[in-house]
Symmetry: C2
Subunit: 686 residues, 2 copies
């Protein structure tokens, strides 16, 4: 892929003297690309002093990349010429392919066939190409205004699928000049080069520190997640089409499976990826985790807030609470040091309100003393600093201040307001030092939380997919005999064979057998009437609970037989416990996925479920359980026993392996799985 | 208060030739104030050509406002001079008062005493004063850079409490030039003039269309809410200190009661106020509801999304879903009209993806046709338009487009990205036409939702507080005989007398009485052992449920007597139903408040409760119930009856009246209030 990012020479097909895209590409190439650029256009000898060639065949060496910006119908022929000339990659920025309907789709299929045949790699079509701020490469028809601020270099590389959006977004980002980037790749229709190729490239790219991707579809979901979990670099993903209406819109837009939002969220978390919700927020998240990729899971996120405004300090404390971070309890020596620059009447505390001290002692000494103090406080994991430009005499030197934090090895995050241009310059200067600056306080705390949360996610990431053992012969045998929707008894036999604890039960055909079973199991019991194909037993009156003696069992037996039951399932009744649901689903994008959720009376109200891709290692299963929102229900709620997380994790691991071992299992649903005093127990399953 | 906003003449005490605050105030006054300005400074004859006076006494007429910017200790003497000279208001921008500790507090008390004695009104101290963009008044030491963009006029007036923050915030807002304002009032320590005075003034101010307030404390909470509920103008409030840590920080910052976040949220919603979470978001919300104050409760928020990017359309649909808005189902005639500018292969739909049409027919015709179509669609309540500047030839004329929507009377909201300066100019131009522009898509949808939600809130606002009837003599008698923590039987007697349905029950002392009671009530019954002062009956084993016959009652009676019960409360056992909690609390800021929440097994997990100030009118009570997050639990969940909302509302109204009628009732807690088949029923109360 190097010929796309660092070509030896570029043929520009569609170069023109007119002030249109073909001219903008040439302007952009000449402005920043150091190698030879060969405009191709039979109508000109030269454009702005650069020699023009009639065809690709005429272009001298070296040339390994073609940028193509001509009407779509002419593209296939040109690609053949490129391949013939020995060009390795073509970046097709023309529109008019699959995105324009069936005609365009045919054209796109045609160029894909050419690529396969000739080995020429295709980027696009229907894309904005590439901007590489570090190399100074703008291989794009994007407006030359993006040079106005210079190409602000940063460590975040971007992958953007949407065609039009990437153009607007790129112009917006670059002209604001407050967000540095490394490589920005607009991949359009992804006819050949996809997010997979680019992510792979960026993970190895020494000039990329973090990756942000806006994707509408994830057709190779598993492969994408595999790359993410292996990546030592932070990755942020924004995935559109998560709501029902959004997914419908995605369907009609790209005919792509938008997919189940909960499954995507689970897969991203499992792979240690930060999930974004909006475009600019994605950029803010990406530069944050790019600056601070090494926050560890054992750092609880205790934050020192340095502010010039008591009010903003209060708001910050509110936001930390909302995002699960903590207002740090400052160490006594920190308090003592702060007291040296505070007025006497004011006891230092966190949020550290510096204004009264500034009024007494001046900004510079108060700010630097306070920053020194909190930066060396062992109870502080990070610093949130409020800054403000535009008032004469306030003046702490922000760049010097962030140095103090950096020397102490403490992450610092800056919230900045003030006069437009002054603030923008300070924003750039501070960010150039590797410190993230935010213009909204809420966003600042949101991004801090993402950095700390990423540390926690990373601790549970399994770099290589967990191994899947060969299933036992017995399990294979059970599966071979089953087909269609299985009744709960057979389902549980399979689960038990897979190592999942299931409730003690016996299928009986006569009252005598039922009473025998009761003798072995002991009361209380449950009796269920089994009718072939009938799954909603409770609704059909086929379940009798709380059977405490033989008479009760007899009564229940008779009623069930009268209701048409073919057999009776006699089951040990579980003691009360937290009710959990667990299962296996097959996602069209991701394949086998494990689900865990809260069951019982809470299931429908809370809809608290979490997903992960199978197979699961134990620590992935434990992290999956941790992702449920209502953890307190698992921790011994209302007198119930706390859930045995290790046992639950092992059930989830077993489910994940079943999903990997047997493609013929379409779905497993254990509901409920009860965390009863005797241990975890699958009570019903299908 | 007119002398603060439109003074006849201004004495500037603390005017100076030095480039400090006192000079900035003079510069700002001369730049925009049309009346006479009299700098006071005995050391100068003139400053920059303006005659300087040695003292306030020497200033000629007319003069009714003094702006004071001298060291705090000198302020009291100057105020006395001002009052003597007949000046009506003093805007004290100097710091060094209550915010600096006990010494400053004394000084502040001194100036308050002077104000009371002389009738001089005080604004501040420790504040940034006033900026009035419409009048061109900058009565503030804020940096003259705020004139750089001109003072952008808008309809939103601002009240900001925090001293330092208001300066930074104001500079930030004004120099960005994309948010017009009317009056911006920084009120600092609120020694005399408070948010109450200003809100009152702004509600009547013809130049104010909407009010935004950032407040750290709400010491006159009830009065504030009273003004809000009467206001025909939209009001947005950001209240700091809602989390526990935030409230602690607020305590140490301003020694003010930060208050219970849930109570504040309830009071604001009841008064029809939009609640903000962050500073800039508050401004975005304020200009949104300022532009669209007339959206009605019966408009469900069906949105047409016009986009140049399928991807951004998908994201918009996701966000609409998240905020409770709807992707509009376009009418057939709209679809037909869209088809005229769409390519043949593409069926029009919502989100309306215009790009393929633009490629075929050009931007201007496609955009204007599409906008005409959706603007006249009866299934569309509002339009979300995506705009982008920076690509030549794309070019729909945004200003002309918003005209189409405005002519059709349809609210339009614009999300804009693009080159920094081009986008800023377009932002200004579109917003000057009364159309809100947003730079982040999520924020755009969040603000749209706020505008629609405000319509719903307004429908339930009661402009004048509901009347409270005189309590009956019987109720007064019951209350007169009670004191301390009441047992549940007495509590329920009081509730019943107040018109709240309570469970049928009888207090008995002997088994015979118990059996008699059972005869009257019928089984099943509950028996509770009453011990003076004992409130946790269930935990102490003093409650027996499911008593189905006389033997059971006898058994329970014996057990309770053995457990030390003095009397036995025999109660009709309620059939299962949705369990609700309802109560009355007294908030330190707001006084008597009614609470309603979800009870039973969900209480602790969901913590779903809503508050409102007493007294309640019926429609306020209904709206309070509507504010519970988990409405589906009230609507007939898992086979239970739907809750009778009218009956529940009437219970809440009765609770609210008890709170108003009897100051001696500190708290009422009904838990549970069961929505059983026989009707709503208070089962336990204290």
């Amino acid at each position: 892929m190097d010929f796309f990012f660092a070509p030896k020479g570029i043929a520009l097909i569609g170069a023109t003297r007119k002030l249109k895209g073909g001219y903008a590409i040439l302007y952009n190439l000449k402005k920043g690309f150091n190698g030879p650029v060969y405009p191709i256009n039979p109508r000109y000898d030269e454009i702005d002093g650069t020699t023009c060639y009639p065809s690709v065949a005429d272009v001298p060496d070296p040339v390994d990349l073609a940028i193509v910006f001509i009407p779509a119908p002419k593209v296939p022929a040109i690609l053949l010429e490129c391949a013939k000339r020995g060009i390795k990659g073509a970046m097709i920025e023309s529109a008019g392919f699959a995105e324009t309907g069936p005609e365009g789709k045919k054209l796109q299929d045609e160029i894909i066939a050419i690529a396969k045949e000739t080995g020429l790699r295709l980027w696009g079509p229907n894309c904005m190409g590439l901007v590489d701020a570090k190399a100074g490469h703008v291989f794009s028809f994007v407006s030359p205004t993006i040079w106005d601020e210079g190409l602000i270099k940063g460590d975040v590389s971007l992958i953007v699928q949407s065609g039009m959006l990437s153009g607007g977004f790129l112009t917006d980002t670059m002209t604001h000049g407050t967000m540095g980037v490394s490589k920005v790749c607009s991949i359009g229709n992804k006819a050949d080069v996809s997010e997979i190729d680019l992510l792979e490239y960026m993970i190895d790219d020494p000039k990329t520190g973090a990756v942000a991707a806006y994707l509408e579809s994830l057709p190779q979901g598993r492969r994408f997640m595999e790359l993410c979990r292996r990546s030592p670099k932070p990755i942020v993903v924004l995935k559109g089409g998560k709501s029902e209406k959004g997914a419908q819109a995605a369907m009609s837009h790209t005919a792509s499976m938008a997919g189940n939002g909960a499954v995507i969220a689970g897969a991203l978390a499992q792979a240690g990826v930060v999930e974004a919700v909006d475009f600019k927020q994605m950029m803010d998240l990406a530069r944050t985790v790019g600056f601070y990729p090494d926050i560890k899971a054992d750092q609880p996120g205790r934050i020192a807030i340095l502010t010039y405004s008591g009010g903003a300090g209060i708001m910050s404390a509110d936001f930390l609470d909302e995002f699960g971070l903590k207002v740090a309890d400052l160490a006594p020596k920190t308090i003592a040091k702060l007291a040296t620059v505070y007025p006497e009447w004011m006891p230092p505390n966190n949020p550290v309100d510096l204004w009264p001290g500034v009024e007494k002692n001046g900004g510079p000494i108060v700010y630097s003393t306070a920053l020194e103090a909190v930066a060396h406080d062992e109870n502080v994991d990070a610093i949130l600093m409020h800054a403000f430009v535009g008032r004469a005499g306030f003046g702490p030197d922000m760049e010097q201040l962030v140095d103090i934090a950096q020397k102490a090895g403490k992450p610092i995050f800056v919230w900045l307001i003030g006069g437009r241009e002054e603030a923008r310059k300070l924003h750039q200067a501070v960010q150039a030092k590797g410190v993230p600056v935010y213009r909204e306080l809420y966003r600042a705390v949101e991004c801090m939380a993402a950095a700390f949360n990423r540390g926690k996610m990373q601790a549970s990431v399994v770099r290589e997919q967990a191994p899947v053992p060969e299933p036992s012969g017995k399990l294979k045998g059970l599966l071979a005999g089953a087909a269609g929707v299985m009744d709960e008894h057979i389902s549980k036999k399979i689960l038990a064979q897979a190592g999942i604890p299931v409730v003690e039960e016996k299928l009986v055909a006569s009252l005598g057998q039922a009473l025998d079973a009761a003798k072995t199991m002991g009361f209380p019991l449950v009796a269920k009437g089994m009718i072939g194909g009938q799954v909603h037993k409770t609704e059909k009156g086929l379940v009798h609970l709380n059977i405490t003696d033989s008479q009760g069992l007899e009564k229940a037996f008779d009623k069930l037989i009268n209701a048409g039951a073919e057999n009776i399932l006699v089951q040990k009744q579980c003691a009360p416990g937290v009710e959990i649901i667990a299962g296996l689903v097959r996602d069209p994008q991701f394949g086998p996925c494990v689900m865990v959720g809260l069951g019982g009376v809470y299931a429908e109200v809370l809809n608290d479920r979490a997903f992960a891709l199978a197979p699961l290692a134990e620590k992935e299963a434990l992290a999956l359980i941790d992702r449920l929102a209502h953890q307190k229900l698992l921790n011994g709620f209302r007198g119930l026993l706390p859930v045995d997380r290790k046992a639950l994790a092992s059930t989830l691991v077993a489910l994940s392996q079943l999903g990997m071992q047997f493609e013929e299992i379409a779905e497993i649903d254990i509901n409920p799985l009860i965390a009863a005093p005797g241990g975890l127990m699958a009570v019903d399953a299908s």
